[in-house]
Structure formats: C-alpha cells, structure tokens
Amino acid sequence: MGALEAYTEHLKLSLPWIETMAITAEKEYPIPDPDDDLKRELAFYTQALDAVSEGKAQVKKAGVAFTRPDDYFAEMVKSDDHMQRIRRELMKESLAIKASEDAKRQRELKKIGKKVQVEKIRERQQQKTKALDQISQLKRKRQNMSMADDDGGSGAYDDLFDVDVEDNVDDVPIKRSMKGKRADSKSKPTRTQRDKKYGFGGPKRNSRSNTFESTHEMREKPKSRIIGKKSKRLGKSRRHQKA
C-alpha cells in the first residue's frame, strides 16, 4: 500500500484551489440501501448542494465570476432542439398521468352508477310485489265478503275501487315457460316444420372441399388482383413531423 500513497503524493498539484475547484465533503451522506433510488439520489443531491455552497464562497474568494449574468448568451450543452424534446416528453408524461387519473375517476363513477341502478331495480321489484300482495289481499277480502252476504252487498266494494280486480290480475304477464306448460294441447311441431320456420343452415363440414365435379371443371384461372400502388414511405424527419 506504500506505493499507492507515493503515487498519490506524486500526483498532487500544489496549485491554488481555483485551478481545480475540487471539493471533498466533510460530512458523511449515509445511504443505507443502494437500491433505494430516491434516498440514494437525495444523498447525492445534498452532497453536491453542500459542495456548491462551499465552492461558491471559494470562487468568490478567488475573485472569479460565479453566476452567469442574465444577458450572457452562449451555446449550451443541450441544444434548443434537445430541450424542446425534453419538454415535449415531460408534457406527454403529465398528460398520461392526467388521462389515467381521469379514467380512474370514470371507473369510480361507473361503479357508483351501477350501484344506483341495482338499487332502483330492487326498489321497483319491491313495489311490484307489494302491489300484487295488496291485490291478492283485496281479492280474498271480496271473496269473503261475497260468501258472507249474497244479497249484493259486494257491489258497494266494487264501486269503492274503480278497477276490475279480476281482469287486472289476468293482465299480469305470465312467464313463457308457464304458458307452454299450460297449453300442452299443442304438441311440438315436427322437425321439418321447425326447420322451415327457423331455417336450417345445412351441414357446415365439407362445403369448401373439392368434389368430383369441381375437380373436373375446366375453369379459367382467376385473374390476379391488381395490387394498388402503396403510398411512398416518407423520410424520417417528415414522418416525425406528422406524428
């Protein structure tokens, strides 16, 4: 290890600080986990920032200008074109974030909307069952009434409600399956009848394969399609302009 130190000594420049502007930190910037990007970058950043604060003082002491005046323009490391690209990229990023947030909100709203819809349907169902209940109750009451006094007292009740209860009950739609069962006098139509009514596509298989006839058919070869001339691909710069 002696050689290392000797070489270090040999390479040391005995020059004023301003010639090299190298600053070694006096503090430690601990980074517990190198894979933790955020903390690592923060440590690097603070190290650099502290170096800048010290460096600025030293530069001033050496009598050298530090800050660039506002009216000093010169070529930069990144060209305007490059900076424009960066700005565009950042814009795109922020737009993407905004769009994703919007989509999230929409999804949330949709979820709420669905809930409301389900609630409404259930409410309607409840109302319907309630109404049916009332009707059946009424029917029972009327029956009882008519059984109790056959001397036409029921007419008064009929007048009270201005609806024909019996008819109304009949209007309640009955499920299709129930209908079919009830009308079992009608038997199922025959296969041929059903095919005629609903249509039968015919067997799907073998429809595209050759038959004896088709192979012996002498037909003209189909003319090859005229392929339309493709539009010419633009140069890179113009393609990018379009995008």
């Binding site: 190298a22 070694t24 010169a74």
Partner: protein
Amino acid sequence: MSTPTTSADEAAAKSTKPVVKNKQRVMLLSSRGTTYRHRHLMNDLEVLLPHCKKESKFDDKTKLFVINELADLNNCNNVMFFEAHAHTDLYLWLAKAPNGPSVKFHVQNVHTMDELHMTGNCLKGSRPLLSFDQSFDSKPQFALIKLLLTHTFGVPKGTRKSKPFIDHVFSFSILDGRIWFRNYQIVEKDPQSGGDFKKETTLVEIGPRFVLNPIKMFEGSFTGATLYENPNYVSTAAIRRQERSQEKLKRAS
C-alpha cells in the same frame, strides 16, 4: 530597499509563479466495438469537458501502451480510454499519460444525456465544480482515484473554449465500493440578492449518469506492476458463465 523577509517572499512568489497554471489536457478515445450508448456517453463527455481532445477509435486489443504515444502527439497528459468488450461491456481507463499511474474501471448503469429526460442545462464548456464524497479520503486507492478524476474531469482555469462562469457541478460518490457520477446544473433563483443563498440555490440534474467499478490500478500508463486490485470485482464473463450454468441446471431438473 526592501527588507530581507520581503525579498524572500518575492523570490518565493517568483519561483512558484511558473507552476501556478493547471495544465491538464485529456485525450478521449475508444476501442472498436462500442455500442451506440457508449458512443453517446463519449459524446456527452466531450461536450462537457472542453479540455479534452477526441481521438479516433483505437484498434489494438493488446498493445494499449501505444496510446501513450498518441497522447504525446496530441499534447495530452491524461487519457480517458473507453474499452468495449463483446459489444456489451464497457471499461474505462484513466491514465496519466507517459508514466502513469492508470486505473481500469468497469462502467455500469450508463444513462446518456439523451436518454435521460432531464431539464437541467449548462453552458457548453463552463468549468465544473467537483464534489467528492468524504470516503474518497478513507482508502489510499480512492485517494489516488480522486486525484485522477480531478485531473481528467476538472477543467483547468483559462482553458480554450471554456466559459468564464460556473454553472454545473460534477458529483462523485462512493457507494457499494463503486464511484457514482452525477452532473447537476446550479440554479440560482436570485443572483442579485446576496442573502442566505443556500435557500435560493437548487440543483437540477443534467446527465449523464454512470457508475465506475474500479478493477485494477497499474504503476505505468496502461502497463506496469499492479498497484491495487479490487478483491470484490467479479468479471462480467464470470457472471454470465454462472447464469448460463444455472439456466442449464434449471432446464435439467
């Protein structure tokens, strides 16, 4: 007549005057077989370091010491040589030109200025501040590396094409036994008010980013006895070999 003490001071001042200037010039070159990313990193460095001279690709894998002659031809006393292997790995040599010492690094995690969409920007050719981690002084090999880095990355005062203001800082930090490089722009919101400027100064990263893993140090420039060898360095070939054998085992089982 002046007193003896003042004349001695004057003599001392006179004797130190010729060496006051920092004369560092860096030759920047690469081997053949660099990828686009390596090339872009080199371009970034060339833009950032006005005291460097870019040479054409060096096409010899064994006689690296020939580079010293090239450096001599270019009047350069530092060499930054990027060596690419198998179109994947990148190694960086930092060497003091004719007589050494030199260091070979493995360059990892390369992100060029172009790839990183960072908003920082600085004057082309302005001199950077160099910020080193405290741990550079903790070990002799790092102390030597620090000096080599100061010579190559520090732009000497009055370099041709350099700008008279300081608006960026190169930061070198040791983490994991490796040297991490960052480049920040110094942003001063209000340069006129001379108040507590620490509150006003912020940094914005410019790029590029890379990590240097020291492999070996040599006494000479690209030659000579080994000064230091990193015991923790595992060659990329060994890593790949292990990966492949593991893959085989996985497939066999």
